[in-house]
């Protein structure tokens, strides 16, 4: 009974912290998501969304079935994912956001996910990376529509994760950037597949999410 009360309190705290108005759905969705106890700060969460943009991202990156990525940040009130997405309306300036992992992996917007972890669990690299990501969130870094990995004032999703680990002195892709075909976009990019291939990461779990609503 005490455990249930603690769990309920945790759920309410998370909803309050992230400003979610849909606490009921948060509790309902927990049956589909990962066991938060088994997740650590700094873990990397790969997600495949359900919308057309997600399908498009997957279609252009042969090496990945995932379209988005974020980094886990655990606090006393819950387990969160720090990530960044482009704005939907093209007007508002999207910034790094923090979201309860249950919302990040909600069946409403996720079909597949995988969680990877820095291989050396005895080191504090993961915690450093999570702290770095949290700083990027607090600093309200904006979305980088120019996809320039050298400009850390603005970030895109894979760059956020890569940059957080870079601040912990780990280059997850070992300098192996990718190129894309599009006029004027001659830079080097960090793709989801680049992170998935990282020799520094090991798979912790992966799953497909059942849509039961």
């Amino acid at each position: 009974m005490q455990l249930i009360i603690r769990y309920w309190f945790l759920c309410v705290s998370v909803c309050f912290l992230v400003g979610s108005s849909d606490c009921a759905s948060f509790v309902r969705n927990t049956g589909n998501i990962v066991d938060e106890e088994s997740i650590k700060s700094g873990d990397i969460v790969f997600q495949r969304g359900l919308n057309a943009l997600s399908r498009f991202v997957v279609s252009l990156d042969d090496g990945s079935v995932y379209s988005h990525v974020g980094i886990v940040y655990k606090s006393s009130v819950g387990t969160f994912v720090i990530h960044i997405l482009p704005d939907n309306d093209g007007v508002t300036d999207a910034v790094v956001q923090i979201e309860a992992i249950s919302d990040f992996l909600s069946p409403h917007n996720t079909s597949l996910y995988a969680i990877y972890r820095y291989y050396d669990e005895c080191s504090n690299v993961s915690e450093q990376a999570a702290a770095s990501a949290y700083f990027l969130f607090c600093d309200k870094r904006g979305y980088d529509f120019q996809f320039d990995y050298r400009d850390h004032e603005r970030l895109y999703c894979t760059e956020l994760v890569w940059h957080a680990y870079k601040n912990a002195n780990i280059d997850l892709i070992d300098g192996r950037f990718e190129h894309v075909n599009f006029p004027f976009y001659k830079k080097r990019y960090i793709l989801v597949s680049g992170l998935l291939k990282s020799e520094y990461l090991k798979l912790v779990m992966k799953n497909s999410i059942k849509r039961s609503f």
Binding site: R55, L60, D61, D89, Y185
Partner: protein, 129 residues
């Protein structure tokens, strides 16, 4: 007299048809060329309308500003002197290889994939394999 008029009309129609082919051609190469020339002319909206729906969504609203910067850069290079293209079409997908030569002699080479959306070729982003 009537015969001469008929020949003239037929000749006129043939000329218009040929001109029409080059002006309104909407093949993959033509779309890529239009994209570059629209950017050069600062016609950002025209350029963006040549992109696939998903590509537009991925680049988001800030793409306009990025394109505007390319207009400035092209002007600095003396404008576009010529664009050479080669295309390969497989069903509803195509790849255009292009070489843009600028007024200052510098060139830009690249590839661009296109897909058919609502019967029209639209430019899309792809991974460089």
């Amino acid at each position: 007299m009537i015969k001469r008029s008929a020949v003239f009309v037929a000749f006129y129609c043939a000329i218009m048809a040929i001109a029409g082919c080059s002006l309104f051609n909407t093949g993959p190469s033509s779309v890529v060329k239009k994209f570059f020339y629209s950017v050069e002319a600062g016609k950002t909206e025209d350029a963006i309308n040549l992109l696939s729906t998903e590509t537009k969504q991925m680049f988001g609203g800030k793409f306009n500003a990025y394109i505007a910067q390319q207009t400035v850069d092209i002007k600095k290079k003396g404008g576009i002197a010529s664009i050479e293209t080669q295309e390969s079409i497989t069903g509803d997908t195509a790849r255009v290889t292009y070489t843009v030569t600028y007024g200052d002699g510098s060139t830009e080479e690249g590839k661009n994939d296109l897909i058919k959306q609502d019967g029209k070729w639209k430019m899309t982003v792809s991974m460089n394999k």
